[in-house]
Amino acid sequence: MKFEINANKHSIEANITIDSNELVIKTSENDLRFEAIQVQPGVYSVLMNNRSFVVGVCPSEANRLNVNGTPINLELLDAVHLHLRELGWDALKEVKAGLISAQIPGLVTKIFHAPGDEVKEGDPLFLIEAMKMENEIKSPVAGTVKKIGVAEGQTVEKGTNIIEIV
């Protein structure tokens, strides 16, 4: 299956096939073959040309991985995504402008805006307290606050939508 792989500074087109525990990745420059096995749910031991790696997948964010403990943010776009993008629809950007969610679970101690407020990129949106630290969440975009999903004093899970900006 064809993929576009985006990670850090890299953007690579590759063909990945999986046959049982064997993986083959072909790019214009490489022809890698390796073997993977699950050690614990979401943790894999991978041998690539006999080099030994442990690859971990973050349970809550499938594109946050780590290799031998070193984190890496990975975007793996399959044919469907690539096709949509060709048609001019970028799923990532679309979503990015929309909802601001809690990146950590905790107590929302302060919300700085009400629906209808204009915000600039970098404006503080809300405070969330977790593990005894107060964290300020800034707006990733400029726009108008459309909706506030929670009230001050509310405890939220990771991923809960807090503010929608349009």
Binding site: I12, I16, L32, G42, N63, V67, M131, K132
Partner: protein
Amino acid sequence: MFKKILIANRGEIALRVMRTCREMGIEVVAVFSEADRTAPHVLFADEAYHIGPAPSTESYLNYAKILEVARESGAEAIHPGYGFLSENTDFASDVSKAGIVFIGPPASAIKIMGDKTMARQTMLKTQVPVVPGTEEPIADISKAQKVAEEIGFPVLIKAAGGGGGKGMRIVNSSDEFEDAVGKAERESQSAFGDGRVYVEKYLEEPHHIEFQILADTHGNTIHLNERECSIQRRYQKVIEESPSPFIDDSLRSKMGQAAVETAESCKYVGAGTVEFLVDKHRNFYFLEMNTRLQVEHPVTEMVTGIDLVAEQIRIAFGQPLSVKQSDINTTGHAIECRIYAEDASNDFAPSTGEIVMLQIPDGAGTRFDGAIRQGIEITPYYDPMLGKLICWAKDRDSALNRSERALREFYIGGIETTIQFCRSVVKHPIFREGTYDTHFYTNFRDELHADLADSTDEVLLVAGGSLFHHQNQIKHSSNSSDSTKKTRSNWVSAQLGRNA
């Protein structure tokens, strides 16, 4: 000796204290909140008492309940660990009034040194130099702002009622001042139940160096040399070492003397830490005294061979110190890396969830003071520190190599941790040289966070791993089409989380 001690804490420090108690033949009593029913300190203890719901204000800070447990269990003494009630004057004196021994200094010493403003006033009467700043907590914001302007920006806003970087803010200019005070006050209130903060001068290329002291009830006060604690982020220590690569024997001896003088000035008893700032000209200033065991106490234990908790307990029982000042000599070098459940690449945001895989480093000179276990849930209720990795070796270079090896070997799956960040620090040329100061993190921030998996091979490997995981999940799911959708949409929302 005591027969039973209650440990009024949780996490790694509860376990740390319990280990020494058990080695001394003392039974240990744990207390726990609802969130900690199966926590390691509960499983370790001889007895364990439920003291309330998860939020610490209703459990680990509920000192009436803890006193009740002490009475019910017949504990003769209470060890408060650090944080929570360890520097609470009321708790210390109520414990004593209940006829139970508080393993810590007298309430009077906590009162003086625990309140940094009173501490400054006390220190101004001694020969020990102090950092310029306000001498009272901020009451009138515009008056305080004037003082800050006189001292000159940047200034530090610090909690009067506690330490550890909580309730602390650096302020670079006058117009940020009011906002920063508000934040610091709110954090202080939440962390220590005391919202008072004060202002202090920020020094040039400063080193944060602290001296461990021990004082008994027989009039003996000694110091156990220094810990270098200049590697900080968010005003919180990340890596500490002993000896400090910055100070020499002559400065060590002068500062040690000042530390002993500080302890004596408040009639200190027990284990305590005198923190100094040392500027690039090697001028040193008293910063604060922590009237409790410090998080980083193991580096001192590793180089001196002295069990600080055992000394605390002996002192509390009324015994004299087991060592004299002339007995103290250090062997080798120790480095501590604090492992937090935080995503270093996302401004150290707390990370919660289940530890799905755990491999703790071990071997010669490798100590991990933690309280984690594979399968355990890291909750958002408490401090995000999972534990501390302390590596000892015969010299600094070997201790650095050992730390690198141990961090590379350390694997915690399922949550984000600072393991990789600590590796970046330990490998950094300036850290290896030993020429860093407290600005290290700010100065090298980008380099430290750039240390990611980066070769094409690694990227392809991880891409393959990701796809393999994806297929693996489909295989193990009863409804494969649903699961595909779910994972794909996870990728998108996760991407948002990263970039937001």
